[in-house]
């Protein structure tokens, strides 16, 4: 679909939402919208795409309750705002939209989370992407270091070839928020795999140790829970350049979820898992077993950690033997560890010993 078609499609779908609410009011009914429940109990494995998507359970957003009524009103404001942007060929960041709501009587968002979620709700209902609504995230994605060459179309429409090792500084190539074909194309690569890293400290360690060159790796810094563009970028590299993906994170429940969002799909964005998740990604982050085997320095699990681990036990994405075992073991030892804890054995240990061992087991490094 061409850009203009996509936007027209979005306008049609959004108007459809308003039409439905209008019809309900006109018919003397209590207006409501039905939306798939975005809960872990409502995600199902899609065997065709090998990712987790929303199931069939629906929730109602009804004007009967105050929150529901407010959300419906917000939806109306948001529809109007998006349609106006499309008409005027403007776009806004999610943060800007949050601030725009300051001027919506009775419908102001109380936190940006709320407005982001509503934008996602609209994606789910219309089947469009937020880019189609002219909404974009304000934060950029990840940093990339490694021997791949991409072609980026810049603001002025000029195409630039960039080698993500030779043409960039030590902080790497910055992934833009839009990583679709119209913006980025992959030209060439001399890498064997992609390693996605949770913390900036570890990214810098691998870069300083020239792991990208020595191991023929593309090193990607996730910046915590990865942005959509980062996940999409990794997925495209995986599919188009046929590069296997591994994630390298801390050893705690939150890091397990980072891996899950890359490999299986995040619960929050399960409507676009197909588009964001890389089902073949493997975990080389710190596990409970690693804590014991490598005798790593640890911290005690706090209450929130324990809660998160227990929640993961009922999360369908973590149902396999590997995760079951590691989650139980972590609960049992009551400890977590950071990836940088490997420095206990020296600065080179991670690149000389830990990663070669882990990647060797997977057959990625020979």
């Amino acid at each position: 679909m061409k850009n203009s078609e996509r936007h027209q499609n979005a306008v049609d779908k959004l108007t459809g939402i308003a039409q439905e609410v209008y019809d309900q009011l006109d018919g003397g009914k209590i207006p409501k919208m039905m939306i798939p429940l975005r809960t872990k109990s409502n995600i199902r494995f899609d065997s065709k795409a090998a990712v987790w998507k929303y199931g069939k359970a629906m929730g109602a957003r009804s004007a009967k309750k105050l929150t529901g009524a407010q959300m419906l009103l917000r939806t109306m404001y948001m529809l109007e705002f998006i349609e106006d942007m499309i008409k005027d060929s403007k776009s806004s960041t999610l943060r800007e939209m949050y601030y725009i709501s300051e001027g919506w009587p009775k419908a102001k968002f109380s936190a940006q989370d709320e407005s982001n979620m509503l934008a996602e709700d609209l994606e789910i209902i219309t089947g469009c992407m937020r880019e189609d609504f002219k909404l974009r995230p304000e934060e950029d994605g990840a940093r990339v270091m490694g021997n791949i060459t991409i072609q980026e179309t810049d603001r002025k429409g000029k195409k630039k070839k960039i080698n993500c090792r030779d043409d960039v500084g030590d902080s790497g190539y910055g992934v833009p928020y839009n990583v679709e074909k119209e913006k980025i194309e992959f030209v060439d690569s001399d890498a064997d795999f992609i390693i996605a890293i949770e913390t900036g400290g570890m990214f810098d360690r691998l870069v300083e140790n020239k792991f990208d060159e020595d191991a023929h790796a593309v090193v990607v810094h996730l910046k915590g829970q990865p942005a959509r563009s980062t996940r999409r970028f990794i997925k495209r590299l995986n599919e188009e350049m046929k590069l296997p993906v591994v994630t390298f994170t801390d050893g705690d429940p939150w890091s397990f979820r980072i891996h899950a969002s890359i490999a299986y799909g995040a619960i929050k964005t399960a409507h676009i898992s197909e588009y964001l998740a890389t089902p073949t990604a493997e975990f080389v982050g710190i596990t409970a077993s690693d804590i014991l085997n490598y005798e790593l320095p640890t911290d005690k699990l706090n209450d929130k950690d324990i809660q998160a681990l227990n929640a993961e036990k009922t999360d369908p994405r973590f149902k396999d033997e590997f995760w079951k075992h590691e989650i139980d073991l972590m609960l049992e030892i009551g400890k977590k560890a950071e990836q940088q804890a490997l420095a206990k054995y020296g600065l080179d240990y991670v690149t000389d010993t830990y990663l070669p061992e882990k990647l060797g087991q997977l057959g990625i490094l020979k």
Partner: protein, 665 residues
């Protein structure tokens, strides 16, 4: 206490007074520097209030504290009371156990005849300085003034100087002492003491000049002097053996029958004879000859003979209206959400002494929600500042399950938590204190039970208010949905699809499906404006009866548009609301005149002839105006409307899912 006083009096010759004082510092309330200062203020202010009440004068009291050096303070206390005759001044202020109270049983602040002399004594022992007293009675042109010290060996006053001075007031008394003390703020402080005093003495004007800072004035909230209370003779029920013996010893009566009938209440000549006969004591016997065995027999006989319950007109409770006024007046800056109508119980008796319990509760506003409630304890209109834990009042509060009345309480026992102040007043001809320092009420079962009953009665009123407030806030939310949000959704959606704004009554009545009744009362220019709004948010038109408890003769007839159907007992008024169409509003309005603001605080509105589940904001009138029943149970019917609507809606609420869907921390 009286018997202790007698004991102390007998011993007075043997031990020196200063020794006595030194030994009893604690029970007299002078055991710390801070407390000594509070006690001194308390003793002098209590006396002033007693004197004014005896003379039916509206009290005007000044308390001034000046800092002289590190620990020495000068206390000046002044009143506009009747004054003291010259001959009595030295004894009153500089002789322990000299007072007008300890033989009588009457509701007074002073009981023992120790109070102010103890202050003079403490000041003398700690600073060596004399007290200066000035007093003027209305028959005289000048005031009498003297400097006094107490001869601690003889327990006799000694005058260092005396004078007659011009004093520009008709009558009154002032005392000035220098004493070692410590001036502090906080829960136990001179300020809190005076604040408490102002609450339970709304007829007093009290000016306080603290060592630093600006004078504070507690204005009077009422111009009524409490009616003077009569002293009463002890009631036979509860008199103890020792007391009976010592009364017999000191009486001026010459015969047992006249002794019994003149020194006890509720014993007539006939009853006295009956008692003597039953006890086997000759009626003509001299009371001074009464033996221990005889006294025991008399006590037994008095228990068997039918004797009327003690008279109770000797008590002067503060009363529900004045408690509310006092609390509002002094606690105004708390901006309380609700002053529960106070409770004044009927008089009861313990050990022959009549007593009355009163309770008031202040709720909400700027009171802290997280802390234990504040407890204000009073005995005969005197604030009790110390030994809260040992007091029967506190124990009664701890015994009540406050969770049933809308306050938090762990395990349903102990001091509750929440934004509330609970005040308890005990009035009696004899307050049973745990010790002479008069700080805690002793744990007498009859008293504790009465306090509990009063607390519960007042707490029910609080709960009724809280229930009403909660229902109202639920209704307000729905009101916001249908009044504001739905019309905006309609307007926006119409604009987006390019069609006219739809008619909304169907949607609105489906969401509400109730008749909403909202009432308010405001007071300005000596008029209460009462407004009852009736919104019909059901799909069909509605008619019903509306009932209010309101003094009908105070309604300004010109302000009343809809004439009532019926007025019963002068204040049970019923209107016929014939027809309010779907989505229409009806207003019932009128003004009240000739009531003080406190006399009509909240509306009491009920309906009948309509299903309870389809009305929000008011209760359905219980059969035949059985309002007492409604108050007693206090439990309002569950919001069936809400229950029903939840039942019909099968959908899971999308926005109230308990699960967190985020993967981040």
């Amino acid at each position: 206490m009286a018997s202790i006083a007698h004991e102390l009096a007998k011993n007075q010759k043997e031990i020196s007074v200063s020794e006595f004082f030194e030994k009893n510092k604690q029970i007299l309330g002078f055991d710390s520097l801070t407390r000594a200062l509070i006690t001194s203020v308390k003793e002098t202010v209590d006396n002033s209030l007693d004197a004014c009440e005896d003379a039916s004068i509206l009290p005007e009291i000044l308390v001034k504290i000046e800092k002289m050096d590190n620990t020495e303070y000068k206390l000046t206390e002044e009143d506009n009371g009747p004054g003291i005759v010259k001959a009595q001044v030295p004894n009153v202020f500089a002789r322990l156990l000299y007072g007008s109270r300890f033989h009588t049983r009457a509701q007074r602040r002073g009981q023992q005849g120790i109070g102010v002399s103890a202050v003079v004594m403490y000041s003398q022992l700690t600073t060596g300085k004399a007290a200066t007293v000035r007093s003027k009675i209305s028959d005289e042109d000048t005031a009498y003034e003297c400097d006094l010290i107490l001869d601690t060996k003889k327990n006799r006053p000694e005058r260092l100087r005396e004078d007659r001075v011009i004093w520009d007031r008709e009558h009154g008394t002032s005392i000035q002492v220098h004493l070692k003390g410590k001036y502090m703020g906080g829960k136990q402080s001179v300020f809190e003491y005076l604040k408490g005093t102002a609450i339970v003495n709304p007829h007093a004007k009290i000016t306080f000049v603290p060592p630093e800072g600006v004078p504070i004035v507690f204005e009077r909230a009422s111009d009524q002097v409490p009616p003077p209370t009569k002293p009463v003779m002890p009631h036979p029920e509860g008199v103890e053996l020792g007391e009976l013996l010592s009364m017999a010893k000191y009486t001026e009566s010459l015969k047992m029958t006249s002794f019994l009938s003149s020194e006890f209440s509720r014993i007539s000549n006939r009853v006295a004879k009956e008692v003597c006969e039953l006890a086997g004591v000759p009626p003509e016997q001299r009371p001074t000859k009464l033996t221990l065995e005889q006294a025991g027999a008399v006590l037994e006989a008095m228990k068997k003979v039918r004797i009327m319950a003690p008279e109770t007109d000797c008590l002067s409770p503060i009363g529900e209206t004045l408690i509310r006024k006092g609390l509002k007046n002094v606690l105004g800056d708390v901006k309380a959400e609700f002053y529960a109508p106070p409770i004044t119980r009927e008089p009861k008796v313990f050990a022959g002494n009549p007593f009355i319990v009163e309770v008031g509760i202040v709720y909400g506003g700027e009171l802290s929600k997280e802390e234990p409630v504040q407890i204000l304890r009073f005995a005969n209109r005197v604030p009790l500042m110390y030994q809260q834990g040992a007091c029967a009042t506190t124990q009664a509060i701890e015994n009540v399950d406050w969770r049933r009345y809308g306050l938090e309480q762990r395990g349903g026992h102990g001091i509750p938590f929440g934004p509330a102040i609970i005040m308890v007043h005990l009035a009696s001809t004899k307050i049973p204190f745990t010790s002479e320092s008069k700080e805690a009420v002793a744990n007498i079962p009859e008293i504790k039970e009465e306090i509990e009953l009063a607390l519960k009665a007042c707490a029910r009123r609080l709960k009724t208010h809280l229930n009403k407030a909660e229902k109202k806030s639920k209704a307000k939310v729905k009101f916001e949905i249908v009044q504001d949000i739905i019309p905006m959704i309609a307007e926006k959606s119409a604009k987006i699809v390019g069609k006219p704004v739809p008619e909304l009554s169907g949607t609105i009545t489906k969401i509400m499906n109730v008749v909403w009744i909202d009432d308010e009362v405001s007071y300005e220019k000596k008029r209460h404006h009462v407004l009852v709004r009736i919104y019909n948010y059901t799909p069909k038109s509605q008619g019903f009866h509306l009932h209010m408890v309101v003094p009908f003769d105070k309604i300004d007839p010109k302000s009343l548009e809809l004439q009532p159907l019926e007025v019963r007992d002068g204040n049970k008024v019923t209107w016929d609301i014939k027809r309010v169409s779907s989505t229409e509003e009806f207003q019932l309005k009128f003004d009240l005149t000739g009531l003080s603001q406190e006399e009509y605080g909240e509306n009491e509105v009920y309906v009948s002839g309509i299903d309870a589940a389809s009305v929000i904001g008011v209760d359905v009138l219980p059969g035949d105006w059985d309002l007492e029943h409604l108050k007693i149970t206090g439990e309002l019917p569950v919001d069936e409307g809400a229950a029903a609507e939840e039942g019909e809606e099968e959908d899971v609420d999308y926005d109230e899912g308990a699960e967190v869907i985020k993967d981040e921390e």
